[in-house]
Amino acid sequence: MKDTLMRYVVKLVRQALVASIWLSFLTLPIMVIRVDTIEQTVTWRWMHLAYMAVGSFVLALAWYAMMDRRDRGQAKKDLETVERVSALSQFLSDPRFAKPLMAFGFLVAAAFPWFFSLYQTNILVSAMIYVVLGLGLNITVGLAGLLDLGYVAFYAVGAYTYALLNHHFHLGFWAVLPLGAVLGAFFGILLGFPVLRLRGDYLAIVTLGFGQIIRLVLENWGDFSYGPSGISNIDRPGLFGINYSVEQATTYIYYIMLALVILTIFVTARLKDSRIGRAWLALREDEIACQAMGIDNTRAKLMAFALGATLAGLMGVVFAAKTTFINPASFTFMESAMILAIVVLGGMGSVLGVILGAFMLMLLPEYLRAFSEYRMLIFGATMVLIMVFRPEGLVRAKRKVYKINVEAAG
């Protein structure tokens, strides 16, 4: 026992030592040697080498130790069955704990605007928009396995629907909200049809192109969309014609979003465990077998595209009403990538995972502002670390255990 531990430690130290020596050697010219061209001198800063060596040694040691732990965890996980899930998810799925936990979460969310500043509430509204976007894309990518890199296009459709209708016809938020959803679904199907036969990389490229086309149209068709300068003075959501301040408007939108988030969670969670949801999973797992078992692939795909796009269209309307100004710069590929990252980091197919992913990816950059220029670096490193140590995302999608009616089954 002691012997194996000893050998394990020696192995780790050796690995870390090799990594550290290599790194010190590679960085020697920049870290140690300084050539001063004015004084014509060369300074050798040997202390830097020591810093480099010690620093990289410690980091490498930590890295290898974590990798090792992960690999051993992986080996164990391969044997894992549905019943043997982690304590946390068992805890979360137990109705005795889940119900009060959800109620508590709801109370906190409902009270939030009264205890926190306008700034915090605003951040949370953005985060909630991304929760819904993430859950929408989760249907297309996480459940049905259709890699959609142009998701933001549907978001743009919703936003421009409201902006233009409001600008030209003074239509209100509540009138356009369902319309944004319907147009989102329409564009979802429009994209769905040509890509029915595509899978994987090809599908990704075509959807990427679709996203770019929508953005380019918005940028260049000035008569229609007012080009890069965008549309401003969009009305905030109306409340029985009452006038209210910006602060009140933010609180109002906050509650609208809270309701939409709850609705979306409800709908997607139910869809996931339904006949349709199972068909999407089968489609993701093996398209040929899925079709051979009698599932209409075309329908299942179009439904997945349309439902995902519906939620994006809905969010587009809310986004336009929240910011009161939109232009094509809000709908770049970066947005699509961000939403995809939410789904992948959170855990493909898992509703809870996507929610956590959205909050993490939206709130982290905000609260990392204290680190100023290192902000994005830390953000990126966090994403990489999650993927290395939890390749299936923060929360692993778990399959429902169905209750069998033994009497009927005989």
Binding site: A292, M293, I295, D296, Y402, A409
Partner: protein
């Protein structure tokens, strides 16, 4: 035996359940099937055998809509309900899911389960085409949908017991042992309520005891579900003892057909299997 079962569950006397006439399949210059004729009658177990690369799997793909045959006619005669049609349904070129809905369900030579779904869910997928709740039903969960869901679960569980997998119902299908995966594929196919079960090498990779159990299972299934079975298999012991009739395929052609005894005595078959060269 063939005669016996044919009488027992024959609802449309005289008609086969599947009739294949003159089917050919070309892949570019390669002729994988050429002028294949084949017939499966109600309640029969028919085997399709032949050396590797003969075109057996290609034949399955042609009659299940995965490939559209270059030439020929494939006609199915569904036996029940609104699917029943007096002069059959032409199914070459039909979409795969519609062929399955019509009542022809298959398994795959290289197992194609849904790995990250449980065994039970795999079977539940088979029930998809026999149920109909949609998005609205899924979200609102009215009584009808809940009832349908429970029926799907119960039926699927029952099918798992039929293939002896009820203990593994909540196991991810990727974690099942090999033999269990093959049986799960059969349960999933049965869930679609087929009149014809197409099995592509169901005993591949099984030991003799598992193969024997599989054979008994196929016999039971045939009786209980009143299905006909068309089976591709390399295990001669199983083929000879299980099938009512055998078709032998070589280089995409049917070179012999008949009862197990007739076929095993056919010199052409012996030559194909022993690779005897007569000229050259």
């Amino acid at each position: 035996m063939a005669q016996n079962t044919t009488d027992m569950n024959n609802q449309n006397t005289g008609n086969p359940v599947l009739s294949v006439r003159n089917v050919s399949m070309n892949f570019g210059g390669l002729r994988a099937l050429s002028e294949v004729d084949l017939e499966v009658r109600p309640g029969e177990v028919v085997a399709l055998i032949g050396p590797n690369g003969a075109g057996k799997t290609t034949f399955f793909n042609c009659i299940t809509g995965i490939y559209t045959p270059t030439d020929g006619e494939v006609t199915a005669y569904p036996k029940t309900g609104k699917r029943k049609r007096a002069n059959g349904v032409r199914i070459n070129g039909m979409r795969t899911n519609l062929v399955c809905e019509l009542g022809m369900a298959r398994t795959f030579q290289n197992i194609r389960l849904f790995p990250s779904m449980t065994a039970l869910e795999n079977v539940m997928i088979g029930r998809h085409c026999r149920t109909k709740s949609g998005i609205l039903g899924a979200v609102l969960r009215p009584a009808a949908t809940r009832r349908e869901e429970q029926e799907v679960v119960d039926n699927s569980y029952e099918l798992l017991t039929k293939v002896g997998l009820e203990k593994l119902a909540n196991e991810y299908s990727r974690n099942l042992p090999y033999g269990a995966q093959r049986r799960l594929e059969i349960a999933r196919a049965l869930a679609t309520e087929p009149f014809l079960l197409l099995l592509d090498e169901p005993a591949a990779g099984m030991n003799p005891q598992e193969t024997e159990e599989l054979k008994q299972m196929v016999i039971r299934i045939r009786e209980e579900f009143k299905v006909s079975v068309l089976l591709i298999e390399h295990d001669m012991k199983m083929v000879m003892s299980l099938s009512d009739r055998i078709y032998v395929m070589e280089y995409g052609r049917i070179i012999s057909t008949g009862t197990p005894k007739e076929v095993s005595e056919d010199p052409q078959v012996i030559r194909a299997y022993l690779g005897e060269d007569d000229d050259a």
